[in-house]
Amino acid sequence: MKMAAAGSLLPLMEALSESNDLWAPIVEDGQVVFGRWKGESLPDNYRVTDNSPKELLLPQTESLMRFEGVYDQLDIKEEPIEGPKVAFGVRPCDAAALDLIAEVLGSDDYPDERFGQRKDSTTVVTLACDEAGEHCFCRAVGGSPASDRGSDIMIYPTDEGYLLRAVTGAGQDILRQCESALDPAEGGDVESAAADCEDIEMPLAEEISPDGVTEDWHRVFESPIWEQLAGRCRSCGICGYVCPTCYCFALFDDLRGNSGVRFRGWDSCQFEDYLLMAGDHNPRPTETERTRQRFMHKLHYFVSRWGEYGCVGCGRCADKCPVGIHMLAAIKELEEVV
């Protein structure tokens, strides 16, 4: 199913918001963030939002359950999950990232119910990119500016407006819902619109590729580059928190009197206390081990477990890292090691 929108996506968003909880890139105090839609057009020239849409599926903190009583007469109630959502204007890298997280959290052994339910009830409407940002490198890690991975509907920008294509049945249903806001895409060539996006220039991705850099991972692991990169690391959690594929979480309890809540919340392997155990033993005690862990996880451990990079090339970490610890910089230096 394909449809077209001339000029603006606003009528489509308005139609979508009528019967859906619509989330999209919005401008808030000059920042472009992914949040609940407030009736505005998509921000001009946004590349990716500051925060990634992963928080729709894996909120930064959520309560898993409530309990009454502590040591006695314990009563546990699981927390219900909020209703379905439409995530609009997601970039292809971020949509793919949702799929990537689902590899882990949706794996057969212990599927994460809460993540799974949200994933099933979230419709992802992806806007293909017609320009790469300063930090973009999706193509270097197997993605594409026109990729429909993880998306229910694809929107391709064209000279006249936009062409829409339903990728999944859920996408089709949603498109039908707002047919009135769209035109039939007569003569619109979705393939060529997609190909145009596919072909955009992406200077960073042309130069550097992670392929093969971790083949001899023992050597990579021992490389002195980690200490150099980590020397300037501030041990903050920016990289992991803005990353659309980082999914690490912690569980923690909060107690008031005799009742409480067990929360699940994001955590970052860059924090000093991430792996700190009772008795003060820390297997990754300094920035060096922690920085190495982050890169090794994305470039090697994830690959060996799930068969692909744990990175979609959105460039947020590179953009937001206060001290320029860049995924591609690490890869470039690793290439020299290999």
Binding site: D254, R256, G260, V261
Partner: protein, 140 residues
């Protein structure tokens, strides 16, 4: 606002003065609203401004920090530090959006039972007009 809502005030009271003042108000059978819950502290300078935020988080509609009059501190200078600290903190808490009536710092001596009762009455009335506090309130 529900009809039977009554303000909840958390009071941090120095054991040497304000707490004794509250005691005096009680033993003298002075009438004041039962809206305040007193926390006895060794000195007003024991109160970290985070306590005030915590009280608002956990459901206080108002917070009172009460210490000895300047010059009367049992530990000589504790309340001078309180004065500096809360001069700043009071403004800062208001800057974050809490109405000024909801947080007060006052000096109450052990002999000022009446003053203590009056303060609680005044604060209760001010807060009653504002209604329940929702700001900074946690929803667990």
């Amino acid at each position: 606002m529900s009809v039977d809502w009554k303000p909840k005030i958390v009071g941090f009271a120095c054991r040497w003065c304000a707490y004794a003042g509250a005691d005096l108000a009680g033993t003298s059978r002075m009438k004041y609203p039962p809206s305040i819950r007193l926390v006895r502290i060794p000195c007003s300078c024991r109160v970290d401004p985070s306590f005030v935020v915590r009280a608002f988080q956990r459901g206080a509609d108002g917070v009172l920090v009460a210490g000895c009059h300047p010059g009367d501190c049992h530990y000589t200078t504790g309340n001078y530090l309180t004065r500096r600290r809360f001069s700043l903190a009071k403004r800062f808490i208001q800057y974050m959006g809490i109405e000024p009536e909801r947080f007060r710092v006052e000096w109450v001596s052990a002999a000022e039972g009446g003053r203590f009762a009056g303060l609680v009455e005044e604060m209760t009335e001010d807060i009653r007009k504002l209604g329940p506090n929702r700001k900074m309130r946690e929803r667990l």
